[in-house]
């Protein structure tokens, strides 16, 4: 008798646990039939089905507060993806270089191990001299080549009229966009000036955009930005030229 009551109570508990999913309509056909068979003769489960229905309706009634994505948020995610991929490439390169170092070092270590101990010092000294001589030869070759052949050296000079910054240097600009600007428009403009958002927006809506100073003078980039109606403000980020920063 007692066993029978325990069994019934366990069956009831198993059904009771399923009721939220009976109410949301996701139970399998077999589970649904079990619930309905049991609930037909169980007042507690009938009440609980109603309680679950009321709770579900109330939870749904709270609704969903979710804004549409702002273009800038997507830009931030894309910038993080770019950064992560740059980082990944850098780490892969470092691993390759380490692997190459290991490959180069392994035969040398084997040679040292195979050399009788008294001669190891002499062997290492010879290796050091060879490395030094190779270094001197390569250095001399690199520095005499341009003079001997008369070929143009790399463009590392600057003219007086148009001082060019060192290649690879970037300049930070502060830029504000009109509120109606779409993410696509921002992206296309940044692509055109080869710029990248690196920070922002500040509470005032100011973005920091880095542009490559090697591609075109900063004044040209600023003029291009200011010519766009979507740009409400564009100026160097900190104390640079041109002095006429605001639009």
């Amino acid at each position: 008798m007692r066993d029978r009551e325990d069994h019934d109570e366990r069956s009831h508990q198993r059904i009771w646990e399923l009721l939220p999913w009976y109410v949301n309509g996701t139970l399998s056909g077999q589970d649904r039939e079990r619930v309905e068979d049991h609930a037909a003769g169980c007042r507690r489960c009938q009440d609980e089905v109603e309680a679950c229905r009321r709770t579900a309706a109330a939870v749904k009634g709270l609704g969903d507060v979710a804004p549409s994505p702002h273009p800038v948020q997507l830009q931030r995610v894309l910038a993080r993806i770019d950064e992560a991929e740059r980082q990944g490439r850098h780490e892969r390169r470092e691993r390759r270089e380490e692997d190459a170092g290991v490959r180069f070092g392994a035969p040398l270590r084997a040679l040292i191990a195979a050399t009788p101990r008294p001669l190891r010092g002499a062997l290492l000294a010879q290796v050091a001299i060879i490395v030094l001589l190779v270094g001197v030869l390569v250095w001399g070759e690199l520095h005499s080549g341009a003079r001997v052949t008369g070929s143009a050296p790399p463009a590392s000079y600057q003219t007086l009229s148009a001082p060019a910054p060192a290649p690879g240097r970037t300049v930070a600009l502060h830029v504000m966009f009109s509120p109606r600007t779409t993410e696509k428009e921002i992206r296309e403009l940044l692509l055109a000036v080869r710029g990248e958002i690196t920070a922002g927006p500040s509470p005032l809506g100011v973005y920091t955009v880095e542009v490559s100073a090697a591609d075109s003078p900063v004044s040209v980039v600023l003029a291009r930005l200011r010519s766009e109606s979507m740009v409400t403000f564009a100026a160097p980020a900190a104390g640079g030229n041109p002095a006429r920063g605001d639009r």
Binding site: H12, E17, N24, T55, A56, V59, A66, Q73
Partner: protein, 185 residues
Amino acid sequence: MPPDDELALLRRVAAKDRKAFEALYHLYYRRLFGYVLKLTRKADVVEEVVNDVMLAIWSHAPGFDGRSRPSTWIFGIAYHKALKALARRPPEAADGAEGPEPVAEGEPESLAARRELATVLGRALGSLSPEQRSVVELAYYYGLAYTEIAEIVGCPVNTVKTRMFHARRRLKELLPELGISSHAG
């Protein structure tokens, strides 16, 4: 969007197609925002968590094996990122002291009652653990099966049922307004 189309989109993301990623971002942004806000109840962490989820989708899409629906996989990432974000925050005092919002003058009685119920329900949900609250929201708001919830939260089906059991008992204590009887089971 049908799950097959979402799967195709996710496959393109796995192949590092940025257009597909942007489409997926727009498709999921509001859903993820709403879910993470319901789960964490902290508006200031939502945006960062959603961004973390999207970044994880980009990085891990090649490993998606297609055994579950894309939405299950994506909500699973969101669940774990949201819990991590909560764990990083310092503990806060419970916000159960505040009363229901005052009834505006001239407001119909039924509307006022609904607003009060929403306030009380919101507070009751807030008193649940994030793990219990997630099961309640996924079952009642998103209408998901317990097997799918188990995949999202990464635990056995019985754990999902147990969390729901405790959540239901707690809500019964706090929500006499719903006419829920006080005995559990």
